[in-house]
């Protein structure tokens, strides 16, 4: 079994990524020579895409015969530069903000660190694209460039001057060493407090502008190697300092005809704020006009799991397991109420008559019974007799998704006033099955791989399906919650606890009250519309959106990038649904202005912490 650290594209080489690459439908859009903004939360596949588009990635992709037809139609006539962010930046920037009092010094340090990192990556990417001119090799691909020792020396020398390096270098290695050394001066300045020689050294270097230096590099490379087209991919740039990010974003409008910029960003654009909100100005880039946005975030409703299925198929192949057998393994869980779902090639259909039996007969859901009675349904036999599309939609399609989850998580009581109550059962039968796995992962490749890692192993080892899924679901939910909790967000001085996780829990419990309450609601609220949001919740909400814990309906404003949450409709990610016992469907909306109030005691929620023994 693989460890889950292997599912992170950050640590995989471009050729490794290309070898296992499952090509999404939007790949040609991402690859083409134009400005692109890739938007999506963690794990959605942004790094995988951008690494596949590096020189070694493209070379490895073109060695796969199964992809050649697809790749043939794409214009790869550019030298790809890939600039990843470093995961430690956020923590380092937080420290700099606390320790370095002068804003100017702070900007110099963070800007310098960022610029030198980018320049280092620029040289590394160029080296990856280079074919030694003195070797017998010839250029095979348009993303490669011939480079002689003399050309390298010339470029290195010119770059040393342009990039204000301490000593003139004659090789790329020398350049990189110098950049690292300068980078350590910036690090030293963080340590030096606010008045030291190290800080003076930083002031002496002065402001470094990566884009100016990049343009200069393109000029030099054009002069000596004839390179005319570039793509510059900035990956995970949300970790970069906001002021720099905002500057880069501005340049989407008119950077340089010779380069297409590609950004990967979190869903909410929080680096581009003026006086607390996005105010367009004449220099602001416009989506569709200055860049092409590609939204990889989870779909609010009507998701398309084609790519997710492809990924699962590929993973099954890799582990020598039949895709069909794996689907069957998940769908055969004993924890799925027998006969309540009919599995087909394209998914499953609910069997409403059977669900009626379970909900009313076993779970004591008299409220559902009463609701259906008002529609003329007195028992399961009446459901079977329903005719007409409109009638079936009214009675079956709206009602039974909710009736189904209630049938799992309500139990019959002897109390005449409250004939059913919420159960604290630790099983997750409602979430079992192949299609529920697609929903629970929201099509997020990393989440899919986390689940598959355990589920396929269990299948191979002959573990029972329901036990396997009952262990995997809460473990993955907890892992996702732990990731959300680890996103440190600034607190206001009032000390009010407005963390992302607290907010998500309040939202989830509030929705669960509507779904699993004493009164059956055929269309309970399962989403929120943000209106007059209390300012203290803003950071928590943004953090939740950017970590993928909240999914935003994308078509609200017409703009593809999200600059303001006011007025947006959001729902909890289905990745969290088992924690609150929420259905994996979108529903009605309710308003979100402040922290939602929870009616029920949260003790009635599932205790995920026992997942290790959750074999029920």
């Amino acid at each position: 079994m693989a460890s889950t650290s292997q599912f992170n594209a950050r640590n995989a080489s471009a050729s490794q990524i290309a070898r296992d690459f499952v090509m999404p439908s939007y790949f040609p859009e991402v690859a083409e020579y134009r400005n692109i903004v890739l938007v999506g939360p963690r794990g959605i596949g942004k790094t995988t895409l951008l690494k596949a588009l590096t020189a070694p990635g493209l070379t490895a992709l073109h060695q796969r015969e199964d992809l050649l037809d697809l790749l043939r139609s794409i214009d790869f006539d550019y030298i790809p530069i890939y600039i990843p962010a470093e995961s430690i930046w956020k923590g380092t920037a937080g420290l700099v903000a606390k320790e370095v009092q002068s804003i100017q010094d702070r900007d110099l340090i963070l800007g310098g660190l960022f610029t030198d990192h980018c320049l280092h990556q620029l040289i590394s990417s160029f080296e990856e694209a280079a074919i030694e001119a003195d070797s017998a090799c010839r250029l095979k691909h348009p993303w490669q460039v011939m480079l002689s020792n003399w050309q390298e020396a010339q470029i290195a020398e010119k770059c040393s001057e342009l990039w204000k390096l301490e000593k003139i270098q004659k090789s790329f290695l020398g350049i990189k060493m110098q950049l690292l050394q300068r980078s350590n001066i910036y690090r030293g300045a963080i340590n030096a407090g606010n008045s030291s020689r190290t800080l003076d050294a930083v002031r002496e270097i002065g402001h470094l502008d990566f884009l100016v230096m990049l343009k200069g590099f393109m000029d030099i490379a054009q002069t000596y190697c004839g390179v005319k087209r570039w793509t510059i991919s900035f990956d995970e740039m949300e970790i970069a300092p906001k002021s720099i990010l905002s500057h880069l974003y501005e340049n989407l409008r008119s950077f340089d005809q010779r380069a297409a910029l590609k950004f990967s960003l979190f869903p909410y654009v929080d680096f581009y704020e003026e006086q607390g909100g996005f105010i367009p100005n004449p220099s602001s880039p416009e989506d569709a006009q200055d860049f092409h946005p590609i939204i990889l975030s989870s779909k609010f409703a009507n998701p398309d799991y084609t790519f997710a299925r492809g990924l699962i198929r590929s993973e099954c192949d890799r582990r020598a397991v039949s895709y069909g057998a794996f689907r069957q393994f998940l769908n055969s869980s004993k924890a799925i109420l027998p006969g309540s779902r009919e599995f087909t090639e394209i998914g499953f259909e609910r069997r409403p008559a059977k669900i009626y039996d379970y909900a009313v007969g076993q779970a004591g859901d008299l409220s559902l019974k009463q609701h259906l009675a008002t529609k003329g349904i007195k028992g399961p036999q009446d459901i079977e007799r329903l005719v007409g599309e409109a009638r079936r939609a009214e009675v079956v399609r709206k009602v039974f998704p909710i009736a189904e989850i209630r049938s799992y998580y309500l139990v019959k009581t002897k109390d005449k006033k409250f004939p059913s109550r919420r159960t604290s059962a630790k099983g997750y039968g409602y979430y079992h099955g192949f299609d529920q796995l697609l929903a629970l992962t929201e099509g997020n490749p990393r989440a899919i791989k986390y689940y598959l890692n355990d589920l396929i192993t269990d299948m191979i080892e002959g573990r029972e399906s329901h036990r396997s899924q009952n262990a995997a679901i809460p473990m993955n939910v907890d892992r996702f919650r732990a990731m959300v909790a680890s996103q440190a967000i600034p607190r206001d001085l009032s000390g009010e606890d407005r963390s992302a996780l607290k907010l998500l829990d309040a939202m989830g419990y509030a929705l669960a009250d509507g779904v699993l309450g004493d009164i059956f609601h055929p269309e309970p609220p399962l989403s929120f519309r943000i209106k007059n949001l209390h300012p203290s919740l803003k950071d928590a909400l943004i953090s939740a959106v950017n970590s993928g814990a909240l999914v935003v309906e994308q078509n609200v404003s017409g703009k593809k990038l999200l600059f303001d949450l006011e007025g947006c409709r959001i729902r909890l990610s289905y990745r969290l649904a088992p924690f609150f016992k929420l259905p994996t469907i979108s529903g009605q909306e309710r308003l979100l202005s402040g922290m939602p109030e929870i009616k029920k005691n949260k003790d009635s929620q599932p205790d995920l912490l026992t997942w290790a023994n959750a074999d029920a």
Binding site: G91, E99, M177, L180, N184, R187, D478, A482, M483
Partner: protein, 316 residues
């Protein structure tokens, strides 16, 4: 930075300067209750956390009222006092009780000791494990996640372009996996505290290891909380090997003795090794704090300063 040489029999050293803290945990002054060396020290410097409203702070303060401690609540002043007392003595033996210090202050104090190393005879670390209390099992929100102090921001090196995370596991639910998902290291080593209370060990395992984040079972390295001497060498060996290939970030969750040893090794290799902290406690939110009483065990580790390490990894 100087290297250190561990010293055998730390309990036999006479202490002239004791450094500790006055906090809300009952065990924060345990050294002054139970260690003769601490009680007998000529100078006793206590950092005052001023947490009047929390747990045992008031009782602790009353208890040490007549013990001749100098209590200081300003951190800058406290560090200056440490330096001043070191300079006044001839090669003093210093005892630092790490039990209840937060990681940031612990790092700052150790930085001061390293900077004053030519004037110090030896340093003795003491740590009092807590009586076991079942952890809440709830995820705690992270307030800060970053380098413990500016000295630990790390350095850029040509040989190292990926990240190795060495995490000292604690029993807080999901904290290790949260860090892994935030930092996305290429390799994670999990150092697992053993030897104090089997219930503690079970809680650490339950709240961390089930997430299956290790590439290889060999990356789980048990260490003895009560044998800091061997723990010191285990961490040091690991860091030294990893530094040859990757950037090393140590995240010392769990017992503070692990944090202290990690910080000391990071100072020896400074500035190559990053040490981060993952703070979830907030004095403005008292329910995020919990009292802790000493279990009766004590871990001691003593060292003297020596010439800087010769076999440091290659760095630019």
């Amino acid at each position: 930075m100087p290297d250190i040489t561990p010293v055998a029999d730390p309990d036999k050293l006479e202490v002239s300067i004791y450094i500790g803290c006055l906090g809300y945990e009952h065990r924060s002054i345990e050294a002054l209750r139970s260690l003769d060396s601490a009680k007998a020290s000529k100078t006793k410097l206590l950092f005052d956390y001023c947490s009047e409203a929390d747990h045992c702070y008031i009782a602790n303060k009353r208890e040490i009222g007549k013990s001749g401690c100098t209590i200081i609540n300003d951190l800058g002043d406290f560090l200056a006092q440490i330096q001043m007392h070191i300079s006044k003595e001839i090669s003093p033996n210093i005892q630092l009780d790490v039990t209840s210090f937060d990681r940031k202050k612990l790092a700052l104090i150790l930085e001061v000791l390293f900077e004053s190393s030519p004037y110090i005879g030896s340093v003795i670390l003491s740590y009092f494990p807590r009586q076991f209390v079942e952890p809440s099992g709830e995820l705690e929100e992270v307030l800060e996640f970053g380098p413990v102090t500016p000295r630990f921001v790390g350095e850029a090196s040509y040989e190292r372009d990926s990240l190795s995370l060495i995490v000292g596991a604690g029993y807080e639910f999901g904290r290790v996996i949260g860090a892994i998902d935030a930092l996305e290291p290429e390799l994670t080593y999990c150092m697992f505290p053993v030897g104090t209370d089997t219930r503690f060990e079970r809680a650490v395992a339950r709240n961390n290891l089930g997430f299956r984040f290790l590439d290889d079972p060999n990356l789980l390295i048990p260490y003895s909380v009560l044998n800091p001497h061997s723990t010191y060498f285990a961490i040091r060996r690991l860091i030294q090997v990893e530094l040859n290939e990757r950037n090393v970030l140590v995240l010392p969750l769990g017992p503070k003795i692990f944090a202290a040893l990690s910080i000391i090794i990071a100072l020896i290799y400074s500035p190559a090794v990053m040490v981060w902290r993952y703070s979830t406690e907030d004095l403005r939110r008292p329910n995020s704090l919990s009292d802790a009483r000493a279990s009766g065990d004590v871990a001691l580790f003593a060292f003297t300063f020596s010439e800087p390490a010769i076999t440091k990894p290659i760095v630019v």
